[in-house]
Amino acid sequence: MHLRRLDVQGFKAFAERQTFEFGTGITVVVGPNGSGKSNIHDAIRWALGEQAGRQIRARKTEDVIFSGSDQRRQLGTAEVTITLDNSERWMPIDYREVSVTRRAHRSGENEYLINGQRVRLADVHDLFRRAHVGQNSYAMMSQGLVDEVLAMRPQERRGLIEEAA
């Protein structure tokens, strides 16, 4: 399984719809300071179900919605879709591709969809847990927090092994 595509619209500084197509190897993201590279990391974690917090630099739902600039009005909705290749049936769903969408509105409401069907957050978590793509997974390292695992208390580190089990 791998991430085939990422679509973002209205999420943080991605006011216009942007699409990333990813291959199976190493994709490197470059760009000047403040251009939006870490926001890509945040978008993927957010679509996987991460609630607001330090890991995605958002305290409440509206922090992830494009807040406007001098030249553009703010938007009312943020939407991120991750499309996963499922040809080897990593995920217990009988489709070659699985897409997970998260949408948030300024009202604070969050919607989740799997292959276009409305689901609950618990369904998204359940889908990923069975495919070993954890939400707090060790596989997502935020900027500046690379050595966080060394600062954790021993009890907190236990979760990393449990996820890999």
């Binding site: 500084a13 470059v30 403040g34 390292m141 060394l150 009890q155 236990r158 996820e163």
Partner: protein, 165 residues
């Protein structure tokens, strides 16, 4: 469950020792299970499982605690643990946001060589300013922000990048 944990812990520990000694050209590192600190007034908390302690000794040094490691040594130790987790249970997607920022030239090289190996089993999306990391990519995305403070992406070839530094 307990058995799987113990099995996974043992495998990750072996892999962590290997990656650490490869990154540091020797030395030893390991994980150990530690009983949670017992407060006096605690009833015996049966279900509180042991936590995980990390010890890391770069070659030739006598490190009293993880606090004594340098910035680059801490980042490298953390990446060795991450790679150990990934080698035992390859997460389909791994996002790394400037984990190579504190590394010197030689250590970026070791990081990248190992990334190349692991990308057989996991897909990597890596944000980096480091030339060597960028050169190791299978695909490159550039993120830019125009006057309107909106992020836009562009698929790039290595030849497109300025022959910086």
């Amino acid at each position: 469950i307990r058995e799987r944990f113990d099995q996974t812990f043992a495998e990750v520990n072996v892999a962590f020792t290997e990656y650490f000694s490869r990154f540091f050209g020797g030395g030893t590192a390991s994980l150990s299970l530690v009983e949670p600190p017992r407060d006096e007034d605690d009833e015996v908390d049966e279900d509180s499982d042991p936590g995980i302690e990390i010890s890391a000794q770069p070659p030739g040094k006598r490190i009293a605690s993880l606090n004594v490691l340098s910035g680059g040594e801490r980042a490298l130790t953390s990446v060795a643990l991450l790679f150990a987790l990934l080698s035992v249970n390859p997460a389909p997607v791994c996002v790394l946001d400037e984990v190579d920022a504190a590394l010197d030239e030689a250590n970026v090289g070791r990081f990248v060589d190992t990334l190349r190996e692991l990308c057989e089993h996991s897909q990597f999306i890596v944000v980096s300013h480091n030339r060597r990391t960028i050169e190791a990519a299978d695909a490159i995305y550039g993120v830019s922000m125009a006057e309107d403070s909106v992020s836009r992406v562009l698929s790039l070839k290595l030849a497109d990048l300025p022959q910086a530094s």
